[in-house]
Symmetry: C2
Subunit: 610 residues, 2 copies
């Protein structure tokens, strides 16, 4: 069995649960069938296993370095990405009109899961490019799309998102990069950009012919001043090389690599400090990085949020799959490593047993299974919402999918970033001392995963987004919709004729009722700071309730598996669901108590008292 | 303020709380006074700051390597250790008769806290040596003490503990190293040892003239067979070089370094695979590593457990101080890094505020404070128990201290290994993206600390030790004693005239009562596997109750601080205590519920279902 991911689980989630093959009845996906879906999944598994996993450790040992001119990566990265591009995978979900496979987003995410688990450092390059191309494809002019999105879908060019600056990370309203108007050409309104961008993943490298940066910057007002706050932010396409005729490249743009970050993990992906417009290069004989505006002036953050939301779901998937591969490695190790004897077979004359026979080791494996399979199901559910938002035949269903997706995005990002990282911690613990050495991969998974609670909005920011915005947006419609969907699962499980489902249904209903009570009390809190003071506890509770709901759906779907060959698999799903309800969902009460009682220790704490 | 540790907090814990200066009234410490104590603490702070902290990152970047003959460390390690030895710190708590300072163990631990926080990799060498020398000093013959313990107290020789083998880590009864009788000499019964030892910290290096290994091995029976299980284990002193006249060294012993482990963290300490008796060297013209038995045959594990228990408390302190220094770094960063604006001051024209002004950042800092200051107090309390066990004038008090220490040892090891590691995770989160880079130290603290839940008995093993042995040992006397001590604090806090103490007293009393109920139900469980199935949850609950008790004692002691200059410090202690009771102790109910209901998800889970 692969230690990268589980084809069996992916197949179960896609078909037995989400009935993804049903999407082929939609016009957008009419060219596809379960056969084409499965062929793509097999291709992803194969490429990930043969070309991505083998250099995962080598990339970590040999992080990108800058020789003053170029960023040097180990050659395996480009070799793997060339295979990936040759297979057309850079355009899996892109429309046929742009040369894409026009596959459902759900399928794309399921396929990419293999690469994220095999080598998150290498796959990050095309993932960023695709998100970049998707933004341009949806919001750019036709010329911008043809010039900047197409070569990324073809895998020839790459892309980034440039948001943070040294003084502005979480607080994007404080960016200072200036975009001075510089006329107009066939690519649109043209600007010269000057400023410093920080934490730019894949910000420089030589994996393709060009790098398309999507850059947040401010257009000065008539007084030459930048508007404070996020209202002044616009979005620009700023390529490393200016585009020339027929998809080739021209002048080097005025973007200089100021340095690379040396990270705890995720080392395969270059992470850069970029200086725009410092005069290092003179495109068209003048200093200043040339860029074209995409979207309206002042709407940069709104435009970028499409990519950000996609990136947040991408972060969730990255976290999930690092947890997932760690779990499969730990499981394999636990089955092979003999050590000790169970309490009822202590006879020292007898042989040692594989550690999976120790209940405490099974506890750690079961927790990992609950986290990573719960996470993957959550991720694919959110991917399905994107498909429904874009292609559901009913307008009301498209609206509902959009509402739910918006509400769930902070959870899809933050929940795996926390709990699948916890799974990686448990994987190390299963390995014991071996897990602490670099001879085994679990320590790298843990280091790689530690990025995920930080980037694309820290988990703390996600909590503020959930409580401060998402919960009450659209007059609370999204929350009401989620409650109704959970209620439907509760009703279905409550009517099931097995031992566990009705009990789990009532536990979930109880947790949901409590959540809704707490929502009401939050809505009644007039003080903004107090309302947000326990946002983190709220996010934890909300996330666990959502994942319990997702687990209950999985358990119900597993009960539908009647074949003898599925017996163990289905028992595993039911057991993990049972574990989640007994050992995880029971955490929710305390978290919600903290929110309800307005726990204020941190609020009251003063700087001088630390 | 130092970012290594807090002299103010150490002083508070030692004097305002534990009244360590009172120990000077005991004959053993009659030469000492608060002045000598403070001089030693200042010396430790100074040496740690000037000679240990500066090369902490360099040791991590340049881990020990083996050139085929020698283990090479960066020179700063030996320079620091020479200063440490010159100052006499290798013998801080050793008796004067052996050249020691004869300081209380509590003082020694408080002093060493500075070094653990500054550079755990470098300080591990003398800490291991001291634990080794202490074992020999208590259990060896006079000649063994003079030959092997003295040079370690002088800092000229080093020491290790050699327990694990490739096939025997947690299950020491399965070791296969053989010790064949080889006559007797002035150092005692002599043996030739053959076998492979694994995970030997400081197992080889050239920091001193010799390395004294304490090795677990089995003496074959008359049939040439090794007795299975731990009953057959004896303990041996096996030096790298045979001792010669007047403290000098002779023949190289037959111990070969087979390789170094390359670790996630703790990289400054060499970690070795050692082959004993493979014939690489021929001491006294024959193959086989020469060793002398210490203690009676078959009592090796019992003898070693003195060092193991000391090592477990040492692990706890290591975890505490890595968490502590991470907290101080994060606090400093949060005070200096401007980013964003609080909800009630969102005007983008205004300046950004230091992130400590965000309530969610204060939450993360407060949690760290609660973990690390709670941990340090717990550690020093256990150190005080060691002092009381050895030197309390009343025999009953000595017995009681020993009982409590035995019960608390798994907690002192496992609680900081879990929660102070969690503190390091929070420290990274406070730094955000910067924390994920190797430009800041918090990522290293996190990696270094990840060892602590693994070594010297995993946290899972500590849980089994607590539930399977410690709880019921001595007819449950230790548990009854702990309950009585907690009860005394509850009574004191209940009678206090402030707003928080009585409420906290009643919360603690309630948690304790529930714990005792669960103890009773555990005692009634006849099935060994079921009794131990939730040992991990039990340990979590037990640990949090113990630390809540320790926090309540701190808060009460802080209320005794009347000086104006102590106002902020005391408010900080009370706030962290309040946080611990509201946000941490409230976790206990669920953990105990899992134990009480005999949660059996992991027990029921079958290998094939994963």
């Amino acid at each position: 069995m692969s230690r990268i991911a589980s084809a069996r689980d992916i197949s179960f989630l896609l078909y037995d649960w989400l009935q993804t093959d049903g999407l082929c009845q939609r016009q957008l996906f009419a060219e596809h069938s379960r056969e084409t879906f499965d062929a793509v999944l097999r291709l992803c598994e194969q490429l990930a296993s043969e070309h991505f996993a083998p250099h995962n450790r080598k990339s970590d040992d040999n992080e990108p370095h800058f020789d003053g001119e170029r960023v040097i990566l180990i050659p395996e990265v480009k070799q793997a990405l060339d295979r990936f591009a040759e297979a057309g995978l850079c355009a899996m979900s892109a429309p046929e009109s742009l040369g894409g496979m026009q596959l459902p987003y759900t399928l794309e995410r399921a396929g990419f899961a293999w690469f994220l688990a095999a080598n998150v450092g290498t796959i990050s390059y095309p993932l960023l490019s695709m998100a970049n191309a998707n933004l341009i494809a949806r919001q750019g002019s036709q010329t911008q799309i043809d010039t900047f999105a197409r070569p990324q879908y073809e895998g020839r060019w790459h892309g980034t998102m440039c948001l943070s600056e040294p003084q502005a990370g979480s607080s994007l309203g404080d960016i200072r990069t200036r975009a001075e108007p510089d006329g107009e050409d066939e690519l649109g309104a043209r600007y010269r950009l000057r400023g410093n961008k920080m934490w730019i993943s894949a910000g420089d490298h030589e994996l393709g012919d060009n790098i398309v940066h999507l850059v947040l910057a401010k257009i000065p007002g008539e007084d030459g001043q930048l508007l404070p706050g996020s209202a002044g932010i616009s979005l620009f396409i700023v390529p490393k090389f200016l585009p020339a005729a027929a998809g080739s490249i021209g002048d080097r743009n005025d973007i200089a690599l100021a340095g690379l970050n040396h990270k705890l993990g995720h080392r395969g992906t270059s992470n850069c400090l970029l200086n725009f417009g410092e005069g290092r290069w003179l495109p068209q004989q003048a200093a200043g990085a040339i860029g074209w505006r995409i979207g309206a002036p002042g709407e940069g953050l709104k435009c970028m949020f499409q990519m950000m939301n996609e990136a947040r779901i991408g972060v969730g998937f990255g976290a999930i799959m690092l947890g997932y591969t760690g779990y499969l490695h730990a499981l394999d190790y636990a089955r092979l490593r003999p050590q000790g004897r169970p309490p009822d077979r202590r006879d020292p004359h007898g042989p040692q047993v594989p550690i999976i026979q120790h209940s405490d080791v099974r506890r750690m494996l079961l927790a990992q299974k609950a986290y990573v399979e719960g996470g993957l199901a959550l991720g694919l559910y959110s991917a399905r919402l994107i498909d429904d938002q874009l292609s559901h035949p009913q307008a009301s269903a498209r609206t509902e999918a959009g509402l739910l997706l918006e509400l769930l995005t902070p959870v899809v990002k933050a929940w795996p970033a926390q709990w699948c990282l916890a799974a990686n911690d448990l994987a190390i613990q299963v390995y014991g001392g071996a897990g602490y050495t670099r001879d085994y991969p679990v320590e790298q998974f843990w280091r790689d995963n530690r990025l995920n609670p930080i980037h694309e909005g820290t988990n703390g920011i996600q909590a503020l987004d959930l409580v401060g915005r998402k919960l009450t947006a659209h007059q609370g419609k999204a929350m009401a919709l989620l409650a109704a969907r959970i209620g439907a699962t509760v009703a279905q499980a409550g009517a099931a004729d097995d031992a566990d489902s009705p009990e789990q249904a009532s536990r979930l209903a109880e947790a949901l009722a409590r959540l809704l009570e707490v929502n009401a009390s939050l809505a009644g809190e007039p003080d903004g700071e107090r309302r947000l003071a326990n946002a983190q506890s709220y996010l934890l509770a909300f996330g666990h309730i959502v994942v319990a709901w997702i687990w209950l759906q999985q358990a119900l779907a597993a009960r539908g598996l009647r074949a003898e060959v599925d017996r163990d698999f289905a028992a595993g799903k039911r057991s993990a669901c049972r574990y989640f309800f007994r050992c995880e969902l029971t955490k929710v009460g305390r978290w919600l108590d903290l929110v309800a009682e307005g726990e204020d220790s941190a609020l009251r704490m003063q700087d001088a008292w630390f």
